[in-house]
């Protein structure tokens, strides 16, 4: 194992200028962590619902509070970003889209697409379906 520790290392990440490709790559991880936290709340919410009307009302009040809305908004943005960038990853897995210009273009498409889908989902969800 000793030789493993003395292997040469590539320069530390901080020496590189941030680029759209690298920033979106770390954002994919960050949104994955946000969604992990979201899954904890989803399961807690399901447990509350399974516990009966009283617990469900409390869970709904928490989700409907301003803090709940902030979290739900962050969760939805992270969800759409991770979904779209994940599809971008699946195309890379099939060998498509590695050219720098294409990677830059699909990267910006993911950012704009995530913002647009989040906006559409909240507008439709709050005004047309009228659930909130």
């Amino acid at each position: 194992m000793a030789d493993v520790r003395n292997r040469p290392l590539s320069p530390h990440l901080q020496v590189y200028r941030p680029q759209i490709t690298s920033v979106l790559s770390i954002t994919h991880r960050a949104t994955g962590i946000v969604l992990s936290l979201g899954s904890v709340f989803l399961v807690l919410w399901l447990l509350a619902a399974a516990s009966g009307p009283r617990a469900f009302e409390i869970a709904q009040d928490c989700a409907g509070s301003w803090l709940g809305y902030v979290f739900l908004f962050a969760f939805s943005l992270a969800l759409f970003y991770h979904l779209l960038n994940g599809i971008r990853h699946l195309f890379w897995d099939m060998g498509h889209g590695f050219e720098l210009t294409t990677a830059t273009r699909t990267g910006w498409a993911v950012v704009l697409g995530a913002l647009a889908l989040t906006a559409v989902a909240w507008i439709l969800g709050t005004h047309i379906v009228g659930g909130m």
Binding site: S39, L42, V43, L46, A49, G52, F56, A121, L124, G131
Partner: protein, 119 residues
């Protein structure tokens, strides 16, 4: 021999993590879209409305798949993050154990809740 020496496991299982991450990712595309469509109906729903929604088999089935496949996907992602950022071998193993146990706990809790709601 080389794989045994480096404790990386048998050579033919090397693509398992990669493959399962992609498999769950593909499954999560329709499941996520279903969940997004369901959310406005869940938000602000009364208990009676929610119970009615859960009596349609498609709702608990899709939510159970979302919880199961989603948490599996989450486990694979968090495993990579722990491998990349925790460098002490002891902490790394401890973190993987805690993360795996927490994932299984969340999965079982979520599925039991769904079974209770659908029953």
């Amino acid at each position: 021999m080389a794989s045994k020496k480096r404790r990386l496991g048998p050579a033919h299982t090397g693509t398992g993590h990669f493959w399962h991450q992609r498999l769950t990712a593909i499954a999560l595309i329709p499941l996520t879209l279903f969940f997004v469509g369901l959310l406005p109906n869940l938000a602000g729903a009364t208990y009676a409305e929610f119970v009615t929604l859960m009596k349609f088999p498609v709702t608990p089935i899709a939510l159970a798949l979302l919880v199961g496949v989603g948490l599996w996907h989450m486990k694979l992602g968090l495993q990579t993050i722990i491998e990349d950022y925790i460098h002490s071998e002891g902490c790394k193993v401890a973190a993987q154990i805690c993360m795996t146990f927490a994932t299984v706990l969340l999965g079982v809790a979520g599925l039991v809740a769904l079974v209770m709601l659908a029953a």
